[in-house]
């Protein structure tokens, strides 16, 4: 992540590519958020992907795991707002259902 930021803990904005090259930074950032959210779980969290210029399988997996972790804490979690290119990558890689919080049905 070149930059990372958040509006608040229930509306997390990612800024920068979610790719293998940056996955360590992204993990550290999301782990922080996860810990904070576990202390005072909100009913729902949204991850905003509008400022993510690119995503790969590794980045998708981490985001999916983060969202699943939140769901495990009974927090409704989803990721959306991605641009066309990123959205197509997510669809191609098969992560759309996990990001939307739907049970995947191949």
């Amino acid at each position: 992540m070149t930059k990372k930021g958040f509006v608040n803990d229930v509306n997390i904005t990612l800024d920068g590519a979610c790719t293998m090259e940056r996955v360590t930074d992204l993990h550290a950032f999301l782990a922080e958020r996860c810990a904070a959210l576990a202390e005072t779980p909100p009913s729902a969290v949204r991850v905003d992907l509008a400022r993510v210029p690119g995503i790969d399988a590794c980045g998708c997996q981490l985001l999916a795991l983060f969202l699943e972790q939140l769901r495990h804490l009974s927090i409704g979690a989803s990721a959306d707002g991605a641009g066309t290119e990123v959205r197509e990558s997510i669809e191609l890689l098969g992560f759309s259902s996990l990001f939307a919080g739907e049970h995947p049905q191949p």
Binding site: M20, A57, C58, Q61, L62, L65, E68, G94, P106
Partner: protein
């Protein structure tokens, strides 16, 4: 953090890239072999499929490993092949050359990535543009395509669409390997009928987020699609990333399903993943693995093989040491020990033979380069040539294979340029207008013999003698044919009336001889006017073990390579002369310089006069001499060790070996010794 090459990654991406490079080279070789075998004929369906699969695999692998530049030419090539296969474009013989050029362009890119060699982008762009022009140009003439663009991208096999379900569980390190899952999935999607592809990622577990290694893959992918591709073709998509247990493919060869989401009525048995096509050795995509090799072979790094060879060499030395020690013991008292050591010796020799055989590779690796070379040169010269090869499976050391390629290429060029006549000339002399060039290999005793035979005009004896005289080379009309043919090995010798870009610069045959001799080989020539020329190269089986003559000088031992030894003699005083202040020995009318090893290597010895020692007559690089030694010890096979690696370079030696008594003996480099002697 890293590049596609992954130089800075924590995992050894080079190792994975190397697999792709090897596969790519195999695919290119396979493609070229098929194209060359066609001549100007149109490939049949199977050949077309095989070429397509090769291009497709290269493209897929390049995309997965991040060598995107390599996908450009392959993509257009694939499109053209696909249209040809679907009879949307009419085949033209010129396409064979275009595909060969495309293969060259890809090979150049491969060499760029693998060896850092320069890549001429302009040449690549030109090939790509010509491929595209062929597609565009012919599309206008071809009948309207009955299939959509999406369908065109899929490699249809002409069968009914089949419903497939795939489950891919990658290894945890797949991300670290920088494998691009999106490329793999996109390639799979390309094989699907329009609108039928579904992909779902699932997390196989839910680990603690904070402690999770984000580079570790825990995702499992499931795919559903309808495709005309075969199961093997689908498996091929995963060829670089999936082992047999990581990919499961279920096939439902019923009629095309309208909804791929429908659950399968009767799940088919899981089939193998990437190696599934190996069950059918003739199937497209089975290239490089034909003959059921996948069942019985696997790739091993050359370094590991060399290491094994070295270790067996060490074992041989240890065994020789033990034998030497045991030789001094009472055979009655130590009967059991002696028997055990004899058994050890047999076992060690067997082991050595087995290990050395690992280094052996078929000469077809070199021979396979020539069909194309011959085709191109013959076309350039306006000659008609049929290339025949035999003994392709003859094996020789991989080190020799690398070194014999250039000399053979030169001989082939020479035969085409100077040996074989033009069709007109051949017809005029009652010959078949199509000349024959034959490459054959065979094992004769402990050596490999390679023949380059043409049925051309033969060597011009008078012309060679005249040229030799002109060049100041000693010769006479009374020389035998064999002696005259040897003249063409003189540096700078050429009888070619014009210099072409193929041969005739007179820098060839001497280099051929030098290169062959450098690997312990010999070159012989036989020629008959009007019938042709036979050039015979004889090579040792391996470079790692050498037949040598061990000799003693002072307290030291040396190994003289047996292939340079002519004879040994104890000279009489009247045979010894001095010419220009240098000692020579007269042997059958020839004066040979005496190389005193004790002087060259600065050794103390009591034998300083030739008549008290033994002269070993040697010939190397066309130069003869007499090496003076104190005594001849033994004829033995020695394991060649690099002295530079273990110590430092010693002038006059071509390496070293460890003898049975544990001492190091230098292996003499005769050409260098001749040079050192001249400077003394």
């Amino acid at each position: 953090m890293t590049t596609a090459g992954g130089e800075q990654s924590g995992v050894d991406l080079k190792r994975f890239n190397e697999v792709f490079f090897e596969e790519c080279a195999e695919n290119l070789a396979q493609m070229e072999q098929i194209l060359i075998s066609l001549g100007d004929r149109e490939p049949d369906q199977e050949q077309m499929n095989a070429i397509f699969r090769a291009a497709h695999s290269i493209k897929g692998g390049a995309g997965i490993f991040g060598f995107d530049d390599m996908t450009v030419v392959t993509h257009v090539m694939e499109s053209l092949l696909d249209r040809l296969r679907n009879h949307e474009i009419v085949f033209a013989p010129g396409m064979i050359d275009l595909f060969l050029e495309a293969g060259d362009a890809i090979a150049m890119q491969l060499a760029g990535h693998r060896d850092g060699k320069p890549v001429h982008q302009e040449a690549i762009d030109q090939v790509r543009a010509r491929l595209q022009q062929t597609i565009d140009g012919d599309t206008t003439q071809a009948p309207a395509s009955p299939v959509s663009q999406t369908q065109t991208q899929a490699p249809p096999e002409g069968g009914l669409p089949t419903s497939y379900r795939l489950a891919f569980t990658p290894e945890p390190e797949i991300f670290m390997r920088r494998v691009r899952m999106e490329s793999i999935i996109a390639e799979l999607a390309d094989l699907a009928e329009a609108g039928t592809f579904r992909c779902e990622a699932r997390l196989a577990e839910l680990p603690d987020f904070a402690g999770f290694d984000p580079e570790c893959c825990i995702t499992r992918w499931e795919f559903a699609l309808v495709s005309r591709a075969t199961r093997d073709q689908l498996a091929d998509v995963f060829m670089f990333v999936a082992d047999e247990d990581q990919l499961r493919i279920e096939e439902h060869p019923a009629e095309r399903r309208s909804q791929v989401q429908d659950p399968p009525s009767e799940p088919a048995l899981p089939v193998e993943g990437r190696r599934a096509y190996d069950r059918n050795e003739t199937a497209p995509g089975a290239f490089g693995r034909r003959g059921g090799e996948a069942e019985s072979t696997f790739r091993v790094n050359v370094t590991k093989v060399d290491q094994l060879v070295n270790q067996v060499g060490e074992l041989l030395i240890t065994q020789a040491m033990l034998s030497q020690v045991a030789g001094g013991l009472d055979p009655i008292l130590h009967q059991s020990l002696q028997r055990g050591l004899a058994q050890l010796e047999r076992n060690t020799r067997d082991l050595q033979a087995s290990v050395m055989s690992i280094r052996l590779v078929p000469i077809s690796i070199v021979f396979n380069r020539f069909p194309r070379l011959v085709r191109e040169i013959a076309a350039k010269l306006g000659k008609q040539v049929e290339l025949k090869t035999s003994g392709d499976s003859t094996e020789l050391d991989r080190g020799l294979i690398e070194k014999i390629s250039d000399p053979l290429t030169h001989l082939v060029r020479n035969a085409l340029d100077h040996g074989l006549e033009s069709p007109e000339k051949r017809t005029a002399t009652g010959k078949n207008p199509v000349g024959t060039l034959q490459l054959s290999a065979s094992q004769v005793g402990g050596r490999i013999v390679i023949d380059v035979i043409d049925d051309g005009a033969g060597l011009p004896r008078e012309k060679i003698l005249a040229k030799a005289t002109e060049n100041g080379i000693t010769c006479s009309e009374t020389m035998s044919d064999e002696e005259v043919w040897q003249l063409i090995f003189a540096p700078g010798f050429s009888t070619a009336s014009e210099i072409t870009d193929l041969s005739g610069r007179g820098v060839g045959m001497d280099v051929v001889l030098k290169n062959v001799q450098a690997i312990g080989g010999r070159v012989q020539i036989a020629s008959e006017v009007g019938k042709g020329v036979r050039v015979t190269i004889s090579l040792p089986l391996t470079l790692a073990i050498l037949d040598g003559l061990s000799v003693a000088v002072g307290g030291e031992k040396f190994i003289v390579p047996l292939n340079v030894v002519i004879e040994s003699l104890q000279p009489k005083a009247e045979q010894l002369k001095t010419v220009n202040g240098r000692e020579v020995v007269q042997v059958r009318g020839e004066y040979l310089p005496i190389l005193k090893l004790h002087s060259i290597f600065n050794l103390e010895t009591e034998v300083t006069e030739p008549c008290r020692g033994i002269l070993v007559l040697v010939e190397a690089d066309g130069e003869r001499g007499a090496v003076m030694v104190d005594a001849l010890l033994d004829e033995q096979q020695v394991v060649v060790k690099s002295i530079e690696t273990n110590y430092r370079r010693v002038e006059g030696s071509a390496g070293a070996t460890i003898l049975g008594d544990g001492r190091v003996a230098l292996i003499l480099d005769l050409p260098e010794l001749f040079s050192m002697h001249r400077q003394l």
